[in-house]
């Protein structure tokens, strides 16, 4: 298929999705519809970046993302969600699913959705988190040296096609148990990969079809305990397992644990993610280090963040965050990473609601890399964000 035809098909698919959104948005009496949207324009300034190579390794400049979402309640038992978003990856069908609810404890979700994993993904929309960028374990492109690091552990959102069975069980008035199990297509990569290709996984060029005909499985369980009228604590654990290469040979396993404490206007969040990814070893010369005879065919990527968010006034939020990534394993010869590489980031930011639905976000980030930049020798970098985020 030539590129012109592919482009035409992409536009046709996008037009069809928009037409479907508009058609469903037409009022009718029995079905309840709600249209929502969000947008964020962010400017990232990296005064320490080497200007010649800042891009594409760093999005040192304006980035724009926006999304439109339609939620349709056919009844209390059946609802549908459609969301189309635009970001650095281009247009993406973020949600296209139906919920078929038997009871609170048993719901079937079918279609395209981000499977239940971790605590952050529920807030991944830029209108729903107070900083311009996501925590590093979930980073999808705003981190410095993103090409070397190949983004976070699990770039969010991670929409995929499949089925999820989920539910919530209230245990008295103070405790709720949430659970989910799912089967989805899984992530993708080209033949003989050294890591998951998240851009390819998001690409609609292959019509969102699985590349190896084998699904990925996963699940999540979380417990929310009410500690008082305005405070609660959520503890959760998640996992995901599948293969990502076309030959169905290379597996990945992602595990996560999270804790969220809400105490009136204070939110404290901590989350850990770890991913074990097998890579192809049939081309030993592409690696920086000699392949080990045992356990030399996988890498481990750990990521975590600790975040404190305080609402100082109804308009003003203050956020402090420490997050980082730690990678262990062989790398490609061209990579600037080493066998063991780490990055820590320290962020201080604010969000100010200038109007209902409109926020200004400002933040400063100090980066500490274990590996020096090959050109400047720099291990410490600085970045600053100024963004306007709106929702309706």
């Amino acid at each position: 298929m030539n590129s012109t035809r592919k482009r035409a098909l992409r536009w046709l698919a996008l037009s069809t999705m928009l037409a479907a959104l508009l058609a469903l948005a037409t009022p009718a009496s029995a079905i309840e519809r709600n249209f929502a949207g969000s947008a964020q324009l962010d400017y990232m300034f990296v005064p320490t970046a080497r200007s010649a190579q800042a891009s594409p390794n760093t999005f040192d400049g304006f980035t724009m993302e926006f999304a439109g979402k339609l939620a349709v309640d056919f009844s209390d038992k059946i609802s549908a969600n459609m969301k189309v978003c635009y970001g650095c990856h281009g247009f993406e069908a973020d949600m296209m699913y139906f919920d078929l609810r038997v009871a609170d404890e048993l719901n079937f979700r079918v279609g395209r959705f981000s499977p239940s994993f971790g605590a952050f993904n529920l807030r991944h929309d830029p209108a729903n988190h107070r900083l311009s960028d996501k925590p590093l374990p979930y980073d999808m492109g705003r981190m410095l040296r993103m090409r070397e690091w190949k983004l976070g552990v699990l770039p969010s959102p991670f929409p995929d096609n499949g089925l999820e069975v989920n539910g919530t069980k209230a245990i008295g008035e103070s405790v709720a148990l949430d659970y989910a199990a799912y089967v989805v297509s899984g992530f993708k990569a080209a033949a003989n990969p050294t890591d998951i290709d998240f851009s390819l996984s998001h690409s609609a060029q292959a019509y969102y079809v699985d590349d190896n005909s084998r699904p990925t499985f996963g699940g999540r369980a979380s417990l929310t305990v009410k500690l008082g009228d305005t405070s609660d604590l959520t503890l959760g654990a998640s996992t995901m397992y599948g293969t990502y290469d076309p030959a169905h040979d290379l597996s990945y396993l992602i595990v996560g644990g999270d804790a969220t404490l809400r105490f009136d206007k204070l939110n404290i969040r901590a989350e850990y993610l770890g991913r074990r990814t097998e890579f192809a070893t049939n081309q030993p010369n592409i690696f920086k280090y000699a392949l080990a005879t045992s356990n030399g065919d996988f890498s481990m990527k750990h990521g975590a963040y600790f975040e404190v968010e305080e609402g100082l006034t109804p308009e003003l939020d203050l956020v402090g965050r420490v997050d980082g990534l730690f990678r262990v394993g062989n790398v490609e010869a061209s990579s600037e990473l080493n066998r063991r590489s780490s990055v820590f980031r320290y962020t201080l930011g604010t969000a100010y609601a200038i109007e209902r639905g409109l926020r200004i976000k400002l933040s400063t980030e100090l980066w500490e890399f274990s590996d020096p930049d090959t050109l400047t020798g720099r291990k410490i970098e600085l970045s600053m964000h100024a963004a306007v985020a709106g929702s309706f």
Binding site: E32, N34, A36, P47, A71, D73, D76, S79, D99, R101, N107, L122, R123, A127, N128, N166, T168, A170, E173, S174, A176, D178, A180, S222, T224, T230, D232, T234, G236, T260, R262, D264, N267, T313, P314, E315, L316, Y346, L348, T350, Y352, A353, I354, E355, R356, G357, L358, R359, L362, S363, T364, L366, T376, G377, I380, E381, L382, M384, S391, F392
Partner: protein, 149 residues
């Protein structure tokens, strides 16, 4: 040269953080409107429900989402809040849901009243105004029937 550049990053970060706080303080003095409603301008019997709504619903998204959704149909709010209650980790219990819906139904009634006024039609039912009254006007009523439309 490279080392000295690295050393300057921390002071620059401190300066940037201070500048950031100053800019926000400037905005704070210039603008006095947040995402939610001013509880003091709500009828007394709806304030606790509003606080519950503000606390629970801001856990995952901004309050602007529901407040600008322009939903005037009570039944739609029931379905909407039901869907939100089932979100993992929402922390919304069934008892919470009742309080949140009391506020949202009140809010929907006020929207209906505002729309009716805009269209020149008589208000469908009496509800207290959410917008601040002029200085000489009487405070908004807080009768039980007005608070629970």
């Amino acid at each position: 040269m490279i080392r000295s550049r690295s050393r300057t990053a921390a002071p620059i970060a401190a300066f940037a953080a201070a500048a950031l706080v100053a800019i926000v303080a400037l905005f704070a003095s210039a603008c006095q409107r947040g995402e939610g409603l001013d509880p003091s301008k709500l009828p007394e019997n709806i304030r606790a429900d509003y606080e519950l709504f503000a606390n629970r619903c801001s856990k995952c998204h901004s309050l602007a989402r529901p407040l600008t959704a322009n939903i005037t149909d009570d039944e739609q709010w029931v379905l909407y809040v039901n869907r939100m209650r089932r979100q993992p980790g929402s922390g919304i219990s069934r008892t919470d849901q009742d309080g949140i819906l009391r506020f949202l139904k009140y809010y929907a009634a006020d929207l209906r009243r505002q729309q009716a006024e805009k269209n020149g039609a008589p208000a469908p039912q009496a509800v207290p105004v959410l917008t601040p009254p002029p200085p000489t006007a009487a405070p908004p009523p807080s009768t039980p029937e007005a608070g629970a439309p």
